[in-house]
Symmetry: C2
Subunit: 237 residues, 2 copies
């Protein structure tokens, strides 16, 4: 399958390569939604909210200004699907992320609403593929983070920073923190039992008055524990 | 970046696509070795062997017959690099794995020596990309496993089975099992401390008289815990 560089390509080889690329690009239009959701099946009497664990696939947050560069003047995010937290949504807008090795990841979904910063959240698997050494950060902390090029249908944005692996975290309201006996920025443990059982030893508490209990892990973490086949989930101090 | 299917491609677009594919393929010739190795820095006095944890990237094992189909009559595996276990090696031979969604993963390295079965070990991230629902298996257990197409420079092999996610495991000699107080097929826990701290709750013991202590996890697991930044590693019952 590796083409030789030392001889000119024959016409049939060119045609085959083009067909292959087009087939792949058409296929990628059917991009999956960014989250696989699992929740504990029985709601016990105690906690104010059920334990929900979501896998965040690679995604982008975007400023209104960057959105207009990528999708044209006046562009707005349009909703594909609501996410678990009220007001958050997966948009219909997709971008292509370009890394320093000239590799690309197409069809990266923008999660809305627009933010006051642009940010790309990738897994380490993505980072190795693209050639970006991803820093581990809580969303919005862009100190000493790398940038990248982002392509939209109407233009390209050169981000100077904001490409991160999101540190695994649990969104909590005051009621959730009271129930678990933790405070903002504490670390908790999340045990996922099953054939690929894993305990995530550092799950950071992120308080916000308007959220309800929800753990976010990335695709590396979701695949490591095979969240889909989990038989039991438990969040502890 | 998505080409329109409804109009013929212009010459410059064809050229650009071909250049893009060739650039990528040339780049991929520099494929990384299949394992990132971490070992505990201080060898404590007790254990017969130091704790070594290796990340296995996607790879293939191959029968002599399949090797000849892929690489031509009389083909032999040639050594690129020794692996940790004596006699095991990363070969110079690379294949392309083709999945049912017509997506491909190129540059999958064959690990030698040849086996009496052909097998492809992928991460769940790879499986989702290719469209293969990977069963979790110990190497060599191919009951109810899917197959796939494998391409080599001289031919293609249609595997009817043997495409798996390798169940995370620890290779042990009798001395290792005695030290940890475990037996073949037991499950142990591996704690990886660090910024992305994880405890793998199900690490299967695999006894063989000629091996020494070595944990194998896949790239999803290695990236979930960010093995490279680990500050402490511990294997327990």
């Amino acid at each position: 399958m590796v083409a030789e560089a030392s001889r000119p390509l024959e016409r049939r080889e060119v045609e085959q390569l083009v067909r292959e690329v087009l087939r792949e690009r058409l296929r990628l239009r059917n991009t999956p939604l960014p989250a696989i959701e699992r929740s504990a099946t029985t709601r016990t009497s105690g906690p104010p909210n059920p334990l929900v664990v979501n896998v965040s696939a690679r995604h982008m947050h975007v400023t209104p200004a960057d959105l207009e560069v990528l999708f044209g003047p006046g562009a707005k995010l349009t909703k594909l699907k609501d996410l678990y937290q009220e007001g958050e949504f997966a948009s219909e807008q997709l971008v292509t992320v370009v890394g320093p090795r000239q590799r690309i990841i197409p069809n990266v979904r923008i999660l809305g609403p627009t933010r006051n910063y642009s940010q790309i959240e990738l897994s380490y698997t993505d980072g190795i593929y693209l050639g970006i050494d991803l820093p581990l950060r809580i969303s919005g902390n862009h100190e000493n983070t790398p940038g990248c090029t982002v392509l939209g249908p109407k233009g390209a944005v050169q981000l100077s920073k904001g490409v991160i692996r999101a540190e695994r975290h649990v969104h909590m309201s005051t009621a959730d923190m009271d129930y678990y006996g933790v405070k903002d920025a504490d670390y908790m443990k999340l045990r996922i039992a099953g054939p690929c059982g894993v305990t995530f030893d550092r799950v950071k508490v992120r308080y916000h008055p308007k959220v309800i209990l929800e753990v976010h892990i990335d695709t590396d973490e979701g695949n490591a524990c095979d969240l889909e086949t989990a038989t039991f989930m438990e969040l502890t101090k």
